[in-house]
Symmetry: C2
Subunit: 506 residues, 2 copies
């Protein structure tokens, strides 16, 4: 949809809204670039000026996105909502959500939360290696309190966790996620037991000495083959991999380890999934909600499908194994094709979420969801968190971590008060599997394309059904429209059983 379809004159409220959203979008995109540059390029002693620049850009972005002209335009447009066309209604509805979020919170509250997050992050970086939960607990307590106050400001005072979730995945609630995760857990536990009892063992740790230069070459070939457009994006190195920017300029990052080549490769395929989504969102509408993603669960479903369903498939490796061996002949000499495939699909329990395989990963998320829910409802005090973490870990993973470094202190999220984000990862797995099942029906034999390194039919399907939809539909509705079924963990369980049951207990 082009802007000219909306209006014939320069001064309609819709024009005003569009111009103001565009301005806010570009300012915020500059802030994003500063953040990318900080991770990728910033000289070590230049962080002071960057902090000043970023704080100034945050202020300018807040000014732009809370511009009263947006509020007036929205009011006028909402009064004549039924007369708007569908895409206009989407923009007005979603712009209202965004506008309320930036205007309903008092400036002092926003500053208090920013200050707390900065102090809490610092405390966390010290507490984690020192296994010192007590040193971090006061910050976490304060964050829990602020999360409740934030929900109250926004009119969700009785449901703080639902509000937290809705920030990242509008339309979801703790209750809905509870039902989904409950069913998922029930299916996962027997599968995990079965695999853990299997004599099959991956030799992943024997992959050593992979030169960074050739790793880089391989992952650039792979990600370009998947469809990432390097003329509108790039990949660089940063301490923690991420994907930033919008479709017009997508910046992914990775990190390399000569003795852990699969981590960088699959991390990059994962970020490529995020990048393909961004590059596929409606180009002309990046500045309005119409051209923006449908929530973090949906975003994660894109990265997970490319990483797992595609990147870890036998068909994918039929195409890329020869090239991999060409680049790393000696390193792979002792590995049969089956060894390699098994290493790529290694399943082994770990206490660390970011190192978990795609089966266990879901259990790590269920654990965090459960604890966040209790924390924000007041059922669990921060002081009791380590004990509760250990108990749940034992229940879900079969063992307790020896310390809080490997337990409750392992993730950065809570130091920023980011409650409600963890569920997106697991919702993403479910959506990915459900979309994947729909793709198999819609495009029979599409996985065979992968053997020739051809991913175009899959990408075109995602473009049509997911990417170009932007934020037209809340994720739950979009999933139903795309797959014909309400979101459920069934397809994820089927997929995991198919791939891993066969591999480990076949």
């Amino acid at each position: 949809m082009r802007r000219s379809e909306f209006c014939q004159f320069m001064s309609t409220p819709f024009d005003t809204l569009h111009a103001k959203l565009t301005r806010a979008h570009y300012i915020s995109s500059v802030g994003g670039l500063l953040g990318w540059d900080e991770q990728v390029n910033l000289p070590p002693k230049s962080s002071d000026i960057r902090a000043e620049q970023m704080s100034l850009l945050a202020e300018l972005a807040h000014e732009a996105s809370s511009d009263p002209a947006i509020g007036s335009a929205l009011k006028e447009l909402e009064a004549g909502f039924d007369a708007l066309d569908f895409d206009q209604q989407v923009i007005v509805r979603e712009a209202r959500r965004d506008y309320d979020r930036v205007t309903k919170l008092p400036a002092e509250f926003v500053m208090e939360k920013a200050r707390l997050s900065s102090a809490a992050y610092h405390a966390w970086t010290e507490a984690k290696p020192a296994n010192n939960f007590v040193g971090f607990a006061p910050y976490l307590e304060k964050h829990v309190e602020l999360a409740k106050r934030e929900a109250a400001y926004m009119g969700w005072g009785d449901r703080p966790y639902d509000y937290a979730i809705s920030q990242f995945d509008p339309g979801f609630s703790a209750e809905k996620i509870d039902a989904l995760f409950g069913e998922l857990k029930e299916g996962l536990v027997p599968l995990v037991q079965k695999i853990n009892a299997s004599p099959v063992q991956a030799k992943k740790s024997l992959l050593k000495g992979f030169s960074i230069e050739n790793q880089r070459k391989f992952l650039e070939e792979v990600t370009a083959a998947l469809g990432f457009d390097y003329e509108r994006g790039r990949i660089d190195v940063s301490p923690h991999p991420f994907c930033s920017g919008s479709g017009a300029d997508v910046r992914m990052t990775t990190r390399f380890d000569a003795d852990d080549p699969l981590s960088s490769l699959f991390g990059s395929i994962h970020e490529t999934g995020h990048g393909l989504y961004e590059q596929g969102l409606p180009q002309a509408d990046h500045a309005t909600p119409l051209g923006q993603h449908a929530g973090m669960g949906m975003h994660e479903s894109q990265s997970r499908m490319w990483e797992n369903q595609v990147g870890r498939s036998r068909e994918f490796w039929q195409r890329f194994e020869p090239r991999y061996r060409e680049l790393f002949p000696e390193q792979l000499a002792g590995f049969s094709s089956e060894d390699l495939y098994l290493a790529i699909n290694a399943v082994e329990p770990t206490f660390i979420r970011v190192e978990a395989d795609e089966i266990h990963y879901n259990l790590h998320i269920i654990l965090r969801f459960e604890l966040e829910k209790r924390l924000l409802s007041g059922d669990l005090a921060v002081v009791d968190l380590p004990q509760a973490w250990g108990d749940l870990c034992e229940e879900l993973l079969g063992r307790r971590p020896a310390n809080d470094t490997e337990g409750v202190l392992q993730d950065v999220h809570w130091s920023g008060g980011m409650f409600g984000y963890f569920p997106s990862y697991c919702l993403g797995n479910m959506i990915a599997a459900q979309n994947w099942a729909a793709v198999q029906t819609a495009l029979p034999g599409v996985v065979d394309d992968f053997k020739q390194g051809d991913f175009s039919r899959l990408l075109a399907w995602l473009r049509t059904n997911v990417h170009t939809q932007g934020r037209r539909y809340p994720a739950l509705e979009l999933v139903k429209r795309v797959t014909g079924e309400p979101l459920s963990p069934k397809r994820l369980l089927d997929y995991l059983e198919d791939r891993y049951g066969a591999l480990y207990c076949g």
Copy 2:
């Protein structure tokens, strides 16, 4: 000088001025980073979003630097000017200059010039390879007209070229430069004739096959040894080398050519000179004129001294030649130490300014200065420019270029209406040579330090005498304070005679 020395209360006009200048500085520094990123990182098809971002940042920077609160604060401070301390006076005086420049020009004029520059740049990129001066002339005519209008807006209606010069080098005028360049030309002509008649010939073009990886290694070692602080800066690759950012985060660029290793090396030493100046400006005052550079001539004097007086010296190469040979043993096998030194100090006439050696370079600048002066005074019509270029070229360099591609169309500057910038390059050479002579007197034997790769005494001298002075003194005054002599071309002529006379006719 720290901000707290200025004021005891939050609400003095000086505080307001300081806060507003700081805000404008940080916004403009973000614009600078966007420009750096565009040259170094931007994916080829992402230029649309970058154009939007940069235009928005330009608008925000203009808003910030023309904030009426700056004007009111300046008025109040100017009313009590004599009661201010010296540094405060510097800030008020220089902030007034900057404020007038951004507020006296009507917004429509600024936009007209920006639009013309964009169109003229495009026309120039087509006209230059096609040797089509006629296609570029209308844009240049319009630029001449705008330059005159700009000077009139600023109150310099009768001296448009003086205004143009003062934008880059406050305190200089066409008349002053005329006198300096006249004396310089008189001294250069016999030196050039002597060298051109010499049988000594540099074998520069035989330096071939220098791997990019080792070139990068060598230039990083060299620039770090010179004193560039890589913890507050970096070097990357871009199509045209430049140095951007401020002392808190200096970003230099270079470009590599396996068959022209000296160009990248000396280009990088040149940019390092700019970078050392920026890193040496008063750290706490980057946001005000006190912590900013004293004009383009002074900036260029820093880059030129490090590039030429230091980087092309025998003493420098006594330290670095062994390492250079270690990295490029085969490539340098046929070169004696004297061959290498001669290649580094090759003198040969060329029509192209950016390829010129440090003797001829001055003649290229004198030519451009002369033509700009005539263009802006109305003595020369744009249509007659190619003829005038050829005549002057014959007079100064002894030959006419065969076409406009190698002549009047070679430089990008005029497509952006940048009249008055060229002289800075040659003034920089003069200042560099005069400072260099003063250093020899102040620090006897300082060049012998270079044999051990020690540049710290030289850098400390520049820090004390030039860098930490910021914009306290106009360049002409600063030169006199530092060297005890008014600016003159004598030291430059002596230096060129010493180095090149000995080498070519010794």
